[in-house]
């Protein structure tokens, strides 16, 4: 035990204890389907098979993982893309019978020697975007799924009544059982099933179970997240991590799955059967020491988790407040990390998978719930993380205890905090302008800062409220925009510009107005505006180190490819750059953290026995990244029009926003656009806003041009067959889809660059048709 750590037997969480008649609940289960399989050891990180379940017909079967599949798709998210491609159609939508929910692992997933190695990658066709959404998540499920015998599980079809799926790695048995009496909300059902299915009545047995669930909010909205449990032997409860983005939980509940449970017989540091366990231990130990020695002087993740970012974002004018109108706020200090540090339970290791010394999964124990169905109960709140706190500031709610309440309910209801918070912030701004009002909001006064109103919206969604506003609001910003426009309740420009969604997915919590590269980091993405592809604000806005379109395009090539790699392998990205070696500043390219990149080369080779270099890691990602874009094209999206972003992410929409940063924007008009100070002095604010609006829209199109060119895509953003062949793809169906799309675009005049180039400027390829 580490110094200062609390012994297991001495800790009491103080949470309310739930008592259920679990025998009675279990007796109501009816087995729909069963399948026995032969247990096998993992070989160099791979189980070498995936699990297919069809809920319509009760089919359960194994699929072989081929060497070709490993070569082209590596694992994790890559395997998910391959399985989806083989199973869905171009017109498949989120609630189509053939849509799949896929949970994948990755060859490095489940390693205990290297921090951040317990991630699962989940994929489906998203209700928000109609394209593939991928979302990563911690917790024990991914590693246990692999150690139970499978690199991925894909679930197709829909059950007729509520079911649970049990993947029992102890017995080598899969079963689908009806589950009529279990709770739906995640903090309850994960406790029930953990107790019900543990082999012995002790914590060690309970620790060998992990559960995926989504609550009542997921059932009644497009914001459904998946909760992945990990049993905490000190708190004696299953805690929860979320695959938040894109409505994965909505798809889970649409399939009438209450939970998926996996259970292992045993696992240890060599369960992955690595090719070279000595190197693996050496690389891991080096990073463990680095985190131990340096984290407290760097990001302080071990003490406060990602919440350390709140004060930094506020200082740099990047913390979204009042629906991204501003990037800092006088009251923001109320949400700084020190206020959450006071609430977090301390001196308990907080990793979401074994062996993660970064341990950023913070919790607040015995939190007294203030509203809703669990009012008065004492619960453990997992988090908050930065993004959830950012939702508080975005809705102008500055109370840390309220953030915990919001966090708790979003989690247990299975609601993605980001989509929920960003959407409600937009509704609040529309309320301020009179485009929404109390009547149109089903009697809720949804103005900025109204903390009670936000919770009422969430409770009403979870209860299945059929009011017109709740029904539409719960489907997210895009649907609300269409509803407001259809009813002619407000200016279309204001509605489109202020609602922070792209491709139908809500933005995560960063203000991007002054960073063109980060606008691309949100817009020129596969699934929509989530920061997991690229976070370039500091490189661009502060360091000024990627000034040209070409520089920005290079960053928007490298970083999305690099970050994609973590999802192919079952890893967390935080140990890559949220701690850095002390000699990192002296390296050639500190922003890439070269020593850690080399760690990952050594790590992948040590587990798989391959002999790859850092360039091959990028190639692994590039294959999957392009394949996913190509699939988006096949699904009817994945071109320039789909990479549109709302103007609020580029610049000031309203006069108030302009005035709040007047000096900055006046200087911009002078230095960037070349308007004289005298002329600026005489201009109306509205005129200035219009000039910056047009200029920045063009900048974004020029950035898109440069990025498409760098990625080897057409001017309309379509991966070319040549590019796909170079990456090793020979699938004739996919190559034909891309070729046909490019011909169609050519006829429609869409294969042209989007920026307006003057005589001194050149478009990216100077007119040569490489596509």
């Amino acid at each position: 035990m580490l110094e200062g750590q609390i012994p297991i037997e001495d800790y009491e969480s103080g949470n309310t204890k739930n008592k259920w008649n679990l025998n009675k609940i279990k007796l109501e289960h009816k087995t729909i389907s069963e399948y026995n399989y032969i247990k096998k050891d993992i070989q160099k990180g791979y189980a070498n098979r995936t699990l297919y379940i069809n809920l319509n017909e009760g089919i359960i079967k194994e699929k072989k993982v081929t060497e070709d599949m490993k070569k082209l798709f590596t694992g994790g998210r890559g395997f998910g893309l391959k399985l989806l491609w083989d199973s869905i159609k171009s017109n498949t939508r989120w609630n189509s019978n053939e849509n799949e929910l896929i949970i994948t692992t990755g060859p490095l997933c489940g390693t205990t020697q290297y921090p951040g190695s317990g991630k699962s990658l989940c994929l489906t066709i998203s209700p928000s975007t109609d394209i593939i959404c991928d979302s990563n998540v911690g917790g024990f499920f991914g590693p246990y799924l692999k150690f139970a015998g499978f690199d991925a599980v894909e679930i197709q079809g829909k059950a007729k009544e509520d079911v649970i799926i049990i993947i029992d790695g102890e017995k080598g048995k899969i079963s689908i059982e009806t589950a009529p009496l279990e709770e739906t909300n995640s903090h309850m059902i994960s406790q029930q099933l953990t107790q019900m299915y543990s082999s012995e009545d002790d914590d060690k047995s309970r620790q060998k179970i992990s559960i995926v669930s989504a609550g009542m909010g997921a059932e009644n909205s497009y914001w459904g997240c998946l909760n992945f449990s990990f049993y905490d032997i000190r708190r004696k409860i299953p805690r929860l991590k979320q695959a938040g983005r894109g409505g994965l939980g909505t798809v889970l509940r649409d399939k009438k799955i209450k939970a998926i449970l996996t259970k292992v017989e045993k696992f240890d540091g060599v369960s992955n059967n690595p090719a070279d366990s000595v190197t693996l231990a050496k690389v891991g130990t080096k990073l463990h020491r680095e985190i131990r020695d340096l984290d407290r002087y760097q990001c302080n993740m071990r003490a406060v988790g990602t919440v350390h970012l709140v004060e930094i974002m506020d200082e740099y004018d990047l913390l979204p407040t009042e629906n991204y109108r501003f990037g800092s706020f006088p009251k923001a200090s109320k949400l700084y990390s020190q206020n959450f540090y006071k609430l977090f339970t301390k001196i308990i290791p907080d990793g979401c998978w074994h062996g993660c010394t970064m341990a950023c999964a913070k919790t607040v124990d015995h939190f007294t719930v203030m509203t809703g169905p669990y009012k008065g109960e004492k619960v453990t709140v997992d988090g908050p993380e930065y993004e959830t706190v950012g939702c508080g500031s975005n809705m102008s709610i500055w109370d840390p205890l309220w953030v915990l309440e919001f966090n708790f309910y979003c989690d247990t209801y299975g609601l993605d905090t980001i989509s929920t918070g960003t959407s409600i912030a937009f509704y609040m701004e529309m309320y301020e302008y009179g485009i929404l009002n109390k009547k149109r909001c089903d009697g809720i006064e949804l103005c900025f800062g109204n903390a009670e109103a936000v919770l009422e919206v969430i409770h009403r969604i979870a209860s299945g409220d059929k009011g017109e506003f709740i029904s539409i609001a719960s489907k997210g910003i895009r649907r609300v925009k269409d509803w407001l426009i259809k009813n002619n309740w407000g200016d279309i420009g204001i509605i489109e510009d202020c609602g922070m969604e792209s491709k139908g997915l809500e933005y995560s919590e960063y203000v991007t107005k002054e960073s063109l590269a980060m606008q691309g980091g949100y817009g020129l993405t596969l699934k929509g505006p989530q920061h997991d592809e690229a976070w370039l604000i500091f490189m661009d806005m502060v360091n000024n180190s990627i000034p040209t379109f070409k520089d920005k395009a290079e960053a928007l090539h490298y970083f999305p490819m690099w970050r994609t790699w973590f999802g192919l392998n079952g890893l967390c990205k935080l140990p890559w750059n949220d701690v850095e070696p002390s000699n990192n500043p002296k390296t050639d390219d500190p922003s890439k953290v070269p020593e850690h990149v080399q760690n990952y080369v050594d790590y992948q080779n040590a587990v798989t026995g391959w002999n790859v270099d850092k360039e091959e890691l990028i190639l692994q990602s590039e294959r999957c990244y392009n394949w996913q874009r190509a699939m988006n094209v096949w699904l009817g999206r994945g071109s320039r029009k789909d990479d549109w972003i709302p103007y609020r992410s580029m610049g000031p929409v309203t006069v108030m926003e302009y005035i709040s940063r007047r000096e900055r924007y006046d200087k911009y008009l002078n230095e960037k656009i070349g308007i004289s100070e005298g002329k600026i002095e005489k201009m109306k604010i509205e005129e200035k806003i219009k000039i910056i609006y047009d200029y920045r829209q063009d900048q974004y199109q020029k950035l898109s041009d440069a990025v498409y060119y760098r990625r080897g895509w057409t001017p309309n953003g379509v991966p070319t067959p040549n590019k796909m062949k170079k990456l090793g793809f020979t699938d004739p169906k996919m190559l034909k889809i891309l070729k046909d799309k490019i011909i169609t675009d050519e006829k429609a005049g869409l294969n042209i660059w989007g920026g307006k180039y003057n005589n001194k400027e050149k478009n990216p390829n100077d007119g040569i048709k490489y596509w």
Partner: protein
């Protein structure tokens, strides 16, 4: 009497240390690398290293975030 910080000109202040410059620029992010005329300044020297006039300063914020 100016210095350039991350490509942007600002006033030079006599006897200003790296720590004070970071404070003036509101650069509170902990993972920064500071270079004065392309030479790295050790973090342990931030308080004592004085910024010369006309110097070119890079304050490289590591990515982190997200």
């Amino acid at each position: 009497m100016t210095i350039e910080v991350n490509g942007r000109k600002i006033d030079w202040i006599e006897n200003e240390s790296v720590t004070k410059l970071l404070k003036r620029m509101k650069y509170t992010f902990p993972l920064v690398v500071v270079k004065i005329n392309d030479k790295i300044v050790l973090r342990s020297d931030f308080k004592i290293k004085v910024i010369p006039d006309n110097s070119n300063i890079d304050v490289i914020h590591m990515i982190s975030g997200g």
